[in-house]
Amino acid sequence: MNDDFLRSELRNALSEHTPDRTAMLNRMAANRAATPSPRGRRLRLAGAAAAVTTVLGLGGVAQWALAGEHEPAPPAAPPPATAPAITSPTPRPSKSSPTPTPSRTSSPSTSPPAATTTEVRGHPGDTQVEKGTLWSDGSVVADGRSRVTLKAKTALTSLDLILRIEPATGLTTGKVNSPDPRVNATLTRDGNALLYRFTLAKGQTLPSGTYVFTATYKGDITDRDAAQDTYEAFADTTVDDENKRLHIYGNYFPTD
């Protein structure tokens, strides 16, 4: 099968279609009427009728009205379908006193809370535990040990996962181990939070599968309330030859 054959087949297919010029003009008029030009307000004032008459001339008003029934397809990508948010979780993730109000003064070692410029995602009610081919779940395995499980249905070409243990008042850093040699694990303190960060080395690919990431911490772990702990991950994967950017975030409440 040679290129010339493909070329001629595709050109034939191309010329099969003769667009309906009037329908196109009508749809454009409807589009333009639906949203004002970002350039100026004068046109907006001129309104639909003016847009139709000035630009298009022909094209029946009846047809234009019909064209108006069409969805004025937005140029931007439609909003991603979000996973159902977990609302008002009743079970507590750890044995905890009803009002855990740890005093700041008891932790002289911590630096003052840094001005957090970026929003922390994953709190109850603000979760997206599944996106595309990536699924996640967080759980508190035991006092001082929190775990995030990732199930990747497709290989990941990048991964940046942060387990955020906050507040970390009275906690001393434990250790962090990577579940896979291709994934680097680091542990840092950011304000009053412990950040366990797992990053897939550049140029590496994490095959599809289940991976468990664990954060361990010591110190005042008895009766610690894990309700504010979150995790968040960005990843890239390839589906149908197209790169997909995946973003998931959640917490450690049990999902029921």
């Binding site: 595709l10 099969e16 333009r32």
Partner: protein, 171 residues
């Protein structure tokens, strides 16, 4: 001035843009709608388009984007119907003996399809295809060759009878 210039652009390019959308989506009605939507975008950003090196390529890029979004919406709608338990006509599990170019094209992943269409049907240079789709020339090369191969395989049945002068083909 602006309206005149745009009108000239419309007349010069609306057929090409609609045909591009037609090959990308395989749908006659959607093709005209998508091309019209793309032209609306061109009109909205006319100053930028007119200043571009190649306004026609810019418009083709918009069509390619809108077509991909449209295909995704179709996919979601179909999956929605499946979830609700509506039956839908599925293609027979075995590949039909003869495929036309359009249905063969639809089986290609979107980016491959776009590369093949722009390279083969529109005969555009690799660099221009790369600009239109916002990908690298290397990607255009690999996607085009894979896409052409896949399309050729799918279309094999179309050509063989001609080639072999009516001899029965054992396969």
């Amino acid at each position: 001035m602006r309206e005149q210039a745009f009108h000239a652009f419309f007349e010069a390019h609306h057929v090409t843009l609609a045909r591009l959308a037609y090959l990308l989506t395989g749908d006659t009605t959607a093709a005209d709608d998508l091309a019209a939507d793309a032209l609306t975008e061109v009109w909205r950003h006319w100053d930028r388009v007119a200043a571009a090196d190649d306004p026609a390529a810019y418009a083709k890029g918009i069509v390619a984007n809108l077509a991909r979004n449209w295909i995704r919406r179709q996919g979601r709608a179909r999956r929605g119907l499946d979830l609700l338990g509506f039956p839908r006509s599925r293609p027979a599990p075995d590949v039909p003996a003869v495929l036309d170019v359009r249905s063969a094209l639809r089986r290609l992943p979107y980016r491959r399809r776009a590369c093949v269409v722009l390279r083969y049907a529109f005969d555009l240079p690799e660099q221009e295809v790369a600009d239109i789709l916002g990908i690298s020339v290397g990607t255009v090369k690999s996607q085009t060759s894979r896409g052409a191969k896949q399309l050729a395989d799918l279309l094999e049945d179309l050509r063989l009878p001609d080639q072999l002068g009516g001899w029965e083909v054992a396969r």
